[in-house]
């Protein structure tokens, strides 16, 4: 299990050496990145089998926690690390200027994302988060258009404010407990962080890490960034990076900040996210921004789900998150060429029947139409919400249903345009071959999961139960008890 560090170290090493490799041989420079990611994906899949006996903690440098940094490998962490690595491989940036630098950034994303999923130390998480942020800035700006630069700048400013606030939150946590190791924080939290200092620290960390998770209200950067970034980058951001940030917040909630006020804050912000996201998507007039706002709404649903205390909430949220991780990238890939106003999409079905069909399938799953997985995920959330006895949770359930209705409206408005061709109107371009292939792969996976629903659900539930078990986390890491 020691080799899980390779998922972080190898991509980083290759990224550092890529300019040197490229000078030696252009061919090697072009394929070194995907080759390394293939290798690390294989390592990750092999290690998945080793997790049969429960999660494993690795002490970096051989130093016992809390002196050193620990890496905590449970099924959720390894799953996310694999998702980042394989996702980057699948959505490898192509085209655009400066292929070498883009490849470097993609490799760094794979390494940094894996590390973010696996880390077990609060400040280490913060540094990984910043690394992912800088890589994203580079990837978004790689489009090269002035609008992309301006969108990146806006994202950067909001993200920097969030990061500084998160750092202040870390300062408060460190002041109260004297440690940064998540397991030891879990041990000390009930007596040291169960006060206003703890709550404020949680809110600061929530807002800081929530920028990437498109939390309300720090999601002002979302529409412009998705409108100006390339298809693959949008897919990576929406599908994977947002989930990484979300899971960080969830881990903090499970391990460190167990007080009900923290759950309430997340619930309220989640409701606001669903409302603002779905309404804005309903009013949007170009496809990419519509999908971006819809993402905000879906992430709001996830925040609501994770704010339900106990393993049930983690299970529901995880189901929605995994479903979103497959559907949204595919939608963004299809929309890469369809970035115009929705009026211009008329007749797309004739140009690319596969693309239009896929879009309809993905939209149906997103709205939550049985028997597609999206339906089961949303049902799980609604059932868990109804089991809570508080009004705010019932309100959340109502909001989610209303959001689904809005989703149906605007997604079908777009889909119906595909099949309605106006005479004399030039149909939009077909999606690129590579994009279409990747989207078809994801769509096929979605369809396959319909038939494999029972075993898949059982597996996701097992992952969620393991992740929600704070006691097991502390026992596995076993930090040294210090006076």
């Amino acid at each position: 299990m020691n080799h899980v560090v390779l998922l972080v170290a190898l991509p980083l090493l290759t990224a550092f050496l890529l300019p040197v490799i490229n000078r030696v041989s252009h061919l090697a420079g072009r394929w070194a990145g995907p080759a390394v990611l293939l290798l690390t994906s294989a390592i990750g899949i092999l290690l998945w089998g080793d997790l049969g006996n429960g999660p494993v903690a690795i002490e970096l440098g051989g130093f016992r926690p809390p002196l050193g940094i620990t890496i905590y490998v449970d099924q959720l962490a390894l799953l996310l690390a694999l998702a980042v690595t394989m996702g980057t491989l699948l959505l490898w940036p192509g085209g655009g200027e400066d292929r070498l630098r883009q490849s470097t950034l993609a490799l760094l994303l794979a390494g940094a994302g894996s590390g973010l999923a696996l880390s077990g130390d609060l400040f280490n998480i913060y540094v990984f988060y910043e690394l992912v942020a800088v890589v994203c800035y580079g990837l978004i700006a790689s489009r090269g258009t002035p609008a992309a630069f301006a969108a990146t700048l806006r994202y950067l400013i909001i993200s920097s404010v969030g990061a500084a606030l998160a750092l202040a939150g870390i300062a408060l946590v460190y002041q109260a407990t004297g440690t940064l190791n998540l397991a030891q924080l879990a041990q000390l939290a009930p007596e040291k962080l169960n006060n206003i200092q703890g709550l404020v620290a949680f809110v600061l960390l929530l807002v800081g890490f929530g920028v990437k998770a498109e939390l309300f209200p720090v999601n002002a950067w979302v529409p412009e960034v998705y409108a100006t970034a390339s298809g693959q980058v949008s897919a990576l951001l929406a599908g994977i990076v947002s989930k990484l940030a979300l899971v960080i917040i969830v881990r903090l909630l499970i391990l460190v900040f167990q007080q009900p006020e923290a759950h309430m804050v997340m619930l309220v912000l989640g409701i606001l996210g669903v409302v603002s996201g779905e309404l804005a998507a309903w009013r949007a007039r170009d496809l990419r921004r519509m999908l971006a706002f819809s993402s905000i709404g879906q992430l709001g649903v996830m925040f609501i789900a994770f704010s339900i205390p106990g393993p049930a909430g983690v299970f529901a949220g995880l189901a929605v998150a995994l479903h979103h991780m497959i559907v949204k990238p595919a939608l963004f890939l299809l929309a890469a060429q369809w970035g115009g106003g929705t009026r211009q999409l008329a007749g797309a079905a004739r140009v690319s029947p596969l693309g239009a069909g896929l879009f309809v399938l993905l939209a149906l799953s997103l709205i939550g139409v049985p028997p597609l997985p999206g339906f089961w995920a949303k049902l799980l959330v609604l059932v868990s919400l109804s089991e809570q006895a508080q009004t705010l949770y019932y309100l959340a359930a109502g909001v989610i249903l209303a959001g689904a209705a809005l989703e149906a409206n605007y997604l079908f408005r777009v889909a119906s345009r595909f099949y309605y061709a106006r005479p004399g109107q030039v149909p939009p371009a077909a999606p690129r071959g590579a994009d279409l292939a990747t989207a078809s792969l994801l769509g096929a996976g979605l369809l396959a999961s319909v038939f494999l629903m029972t075993p898949l659900a059982a597996q996701v539930e097992a992952i969620a139960l393991q992740a929600a078990d704070a006691g097991q986390y502390v026992a596995t890491v076993n930090p040294e008890a210090l006076p």
């Binding site: 002035p146 412009e224 409108a227």
Partner: protein, 146 residues
């Protein structure tokens, strides 16, 4: 009452507040960037303050021995990391500001935002939203008007 911890705490929180105020209230991009720098400085100071010990010496082996009461080395290492991260991101911010200025000819945040929306709308072939609060027309008319 005026012990060191209080002074530093007020300084750190003050820097954070001034930084946020600068970012939120400024119209000029460079002032926003200064606000970010101040905000990060405040957060770093707060981090250093977390385990401040009065009268502790630096944890360095001097003249054959370590000092009796040593300061906490962990926040020092953390702030070192945070400062370097800040510098890296600042360099990237300035590069972006340079390119934006070259493209749009202005460093006013509001103008940049408008030009960016204009560019996005042009690329998408739709009209620019007149206001972010105005509802977009839901149904398009048959002849293309909306």
């Amino acid at each position: 009452m005026l012990d060191a911890t209080l002074i530093f705490y007020v300084a750190a929180v003050g820097l954070i507040l001034i930084g946020i105020a600068g970012i939120v209230l400024s119209a000029h991009l460079v002032r926003v960037i200064f606000g970010i720098v101040l905000l990060e400085a405040g957060a770093n100071l707060l981090l250093l303050l977390a385990t401040y010990r009065e009268g502790a010496a630096a944890p360095i082996f001097v003249k054959g021995a370590f000092p009796a009461v040593m300061a906490d080395p962990v926040p020092q290492a953390l702030v070192l990391t945070a400062i370097v991260i800040g510098v890296g991101i600042l360099a990237l911010t300035l590069s972006l500001a340079l390119r934006v200025h070259r493209a749009y000819g202005t460093l006013d945040i509001r103008e940049i935002r408008q030009r960016m929306e204009q560019d996005i709308a042009d690329a998408a072939g739709i009209d620019m939203p007149t206001s972010s609060e105005a509802p977009a027309p839901v149904y398009a008319h048959e002849d293309g008007r909306s």
